[in-house]
């Protein structure tokens, strides 16, 4: 366990020190200190209400859109404290992409969904049509969606199946070349086959990104994650390699949870 006194590391990856978060008077995160390694898949596990989604939503500061949230402490993403005054929220979110629990493609065409980030961050006319087309194709190929949708790129994205929608939500992050991808239970709306294909996709993507995934599905954490973080009541209980967490946890609480006796 990292002591809260350990100075904040600014190497790549995600680091937090003394991170506390309150919703009104309820404290949802307590003294969170983490060093999440770059270039691997890290799973956040723990019973409902333990703060895993809240923690995830700190890393792109999207928590802040609700007025009653108060955060203290430090979070370094890609070597920079994201609460520093000179951090641009827009640039942070460009580097840190997010996939949500329920697929939420925008009610515009498939093509425009993939290009949404580009439209927000790149000046109009910076890319020619051909370059944009290439971006769309490569992003959709990366998530194995290209063959399904190449003939209907102009169609509204809401007509896709849930699994396709979730793949699209991953694909639309790629043109911005994010460094970190946050996933908040990305498979909870999908059937078993869909889950399998999304996990395969994770295995492909892990080489290029730092991936953080919140999951309720223990088997999924086991299959898909290199490291796991077990949280309970807003605190980090244990952070270790997946095999270690599942087979030889250090803490009693972790063992209770991963063996299904608690939570």
């Amino acid at each position: 366990m990292i002591s809260t006194a350990t100075p904040l590391s600014t190497t790549p990856g995600i680091h937090t020190r003394n991170l506390n978060l309150w919703y009104g008077s309820f404290q949802a995160l307590k003294e969170v200190a983490l060093d999440i390694k770059p270039g691997i898949v890290t799973a956040l596990i723990g019973p409902s209400g333990c703060g895993k989604t809240t923690l995830l939503r700190c890393f792109n500061r999207i928590n802040e859109r609700y007025g009653n949230v108060r955060t203290t402490g430090e979070i370094a993403v890609l070597g920079k404290n994201i609460y520093d005054a000179d951090v641009s929220l827009s640039e942070l979110r460009k580097a840190v992409g997010m996939v949500f629990q329920r697929p939420n493609p925008l009610p515009i065409s498939i093509r425009e969904n993939v290009l949404f980030g580009v439209r927000v961050h790149v000046k109009r006319g910076a890319y020619g049509r051909g370059e944009l087309d290439a971006m769309v194709e490569s992003a959709l190929r990366d998530v194995q969606l290209w063959d399904d949708v190449k003939d209907k790129l102009k169609k509204n994205a809401l007509h896709l199946s849930l699994e396709q929608q979730q793949k699209l939500c991953i694909a639309r992050l790629l043109p911005l070349k994010p460094r970190v991808i946050l996933m908040d239970e990305p498979c909870s709306a999908l059937d078993a086959e869909g889950i399998e294909r999304i996990e395969l996709l994770l295995q492909e993507l892990r080489k290029r990104f730092t991936i953080l995934i919140v999951t309720h599905n223990m088997a999924q954490a086991r299959r898909a994650a290199d490291e796991c973080i077990y949280m309970l009541l807003g605190r980090i209980v244990e952070h270790d390699a997946t095999m270690k967490i599942f087979h030889n946890p250090r803490e009693k609480e972790t063992e209770m949870y991963v063996t299904g006796r608690y939570g």
Binding site: N60, R65, S90, R93, K94, L106, P107, I108, V120, H121
Partner: protein, 316 residues
């Protein structure tokens, strides 16, 4: 009398009472159903009855040698001329369309802007208070708006532009625009509020600003509702009578500038029906104008209706 006999009597009494209530219910159920059904049908009946009444008054001239070419293409509306009465409503149609168009030019940006502000840039009590206040504007009687246009906007127009009179196309457009804003805001805000929050979150997670979220995501997502809001505003403006009668100047001509007076279809009917002799051509022509208005508002409302239906079927 022993206890069990008494209990049996009580039981019998309540059973009888229950039976009576049941009969009453059996009787009221179909009666209530019939009443409710009548209420539903009455709406249809009234619409058709009104249409039939207007049509009945208009029919004798419509099928009795009315000059349709003159009616739709002439700008001369001289119904009271003894020598050569003329019934051309082109200037009136242009009047109605120009006042409505100008009103929408003001009301649509203002209304949609207010809706976006209330829905996306305010929270909590402030949001509710604003919405309630704007909806309070909707039921202000149109004659009051007429007063405001006549007494307030008119003099301002004279002062700023040097126009000889303050009642003209510009005044009509402004007054009517202000009148249409509340309904546009109300419907548009509902449409924006109905957009799932997950869309906003998706856009924000890409680093979009709030304004980018509005025009890149919320506008496409709520486009049907916003269109319905605009169409309802247009419907309100076209059908408005009292305010435009008071503030447009009421001169029959095709306007060449914002400061020209105009006259609308509605104002013509309101102003002349009292003087027209019941049953003569002038009287009936006013009813034909009524039918033209009927057709215009009907078309707009029907469009709005289909558009709103489009929203619902898209959501399912």
């Amino acid at each position: 009398m022993n206890k069990s006999v008494f209990a049996a009597k009580i039981r019998r009494f309540f059973r009888a009472l229950h039976g009576l209530l049941q009969i009453a219910l059996d009787f009221t159920e179909p009666v209530m159903e019939l009443l409710i059904r009548l209420c539903g049908w009455s709406a249809i009946v009234f619409v058709f009855a009104i249409f039939l009444f207007v049509f009945k008054e208009a029919a004798p001239v419509m099928f009795g040698g009315m000059n349709y070419t003159e009616f739709f293409t002439s700008i001369n509306w001289r119904p009271t001329s003894v020598v050569n009465p003329q019934y051309g409503i082109l200037a009136l149609i242009v009047g109605t369309l120009s006042v409505t168009g100008l009103a929408m030019l003001l009301a649509v940006p203002l209304g949609l802007g207010a809706a976006v502000y209330i829905s996306e840039f305010t929270t909590g009590k402030y949001k509710e208070a604003l919405k309630v206040l704007i909806e309070l504007l909707a039921p202000i009687p149109s004659v009051v708006w007429g007063f405001i246009g006549y007494m307030l906007i008119g003099p301002i127009i004279i002062k700023l532009t040097g126009a000889p009179v303050g009642v003209n196309l510009l005044n009509g457009g402004i007054t009517l625009g202000l009148m249409s804003v509340p309904i546009i805001v109300s419907v548009a805000e509902d449409a924006l509020r109905a957009v799932p929050d997950s869309y906003r979150e998706a856009a924000l997670s890409f680093g979009a600003s709030r304004w980018e979220t509005v025009y890149r995501v919320l506008f496409p997502a709520a486009k049907n509702g916003l269109l319905a809001a605009v169409l309802l505003g247009i419907g309100r403006a076209i059908g408005e009578t009292m305010a435009v009668l008071m503030v447009t100047g009421h001169a029959i001509k095709i306007p060449h500038s914002l400061l020209d007076p105009v006259r609308t279809l509605t104002a013509t009917i309101a102003a002349e029906l009292g003087e027209a002799v019941e049953g003569d051509v002038h009287y009936r022509m006013l009813f034909v104008i009524g039918l033209v208005l009927f057709a215009m508002t009907f078309a707009i409302n029907l469009t709005a209706d289909f558009v709103v239906k489009g929203i619902r079927s898209e959501k399912t």
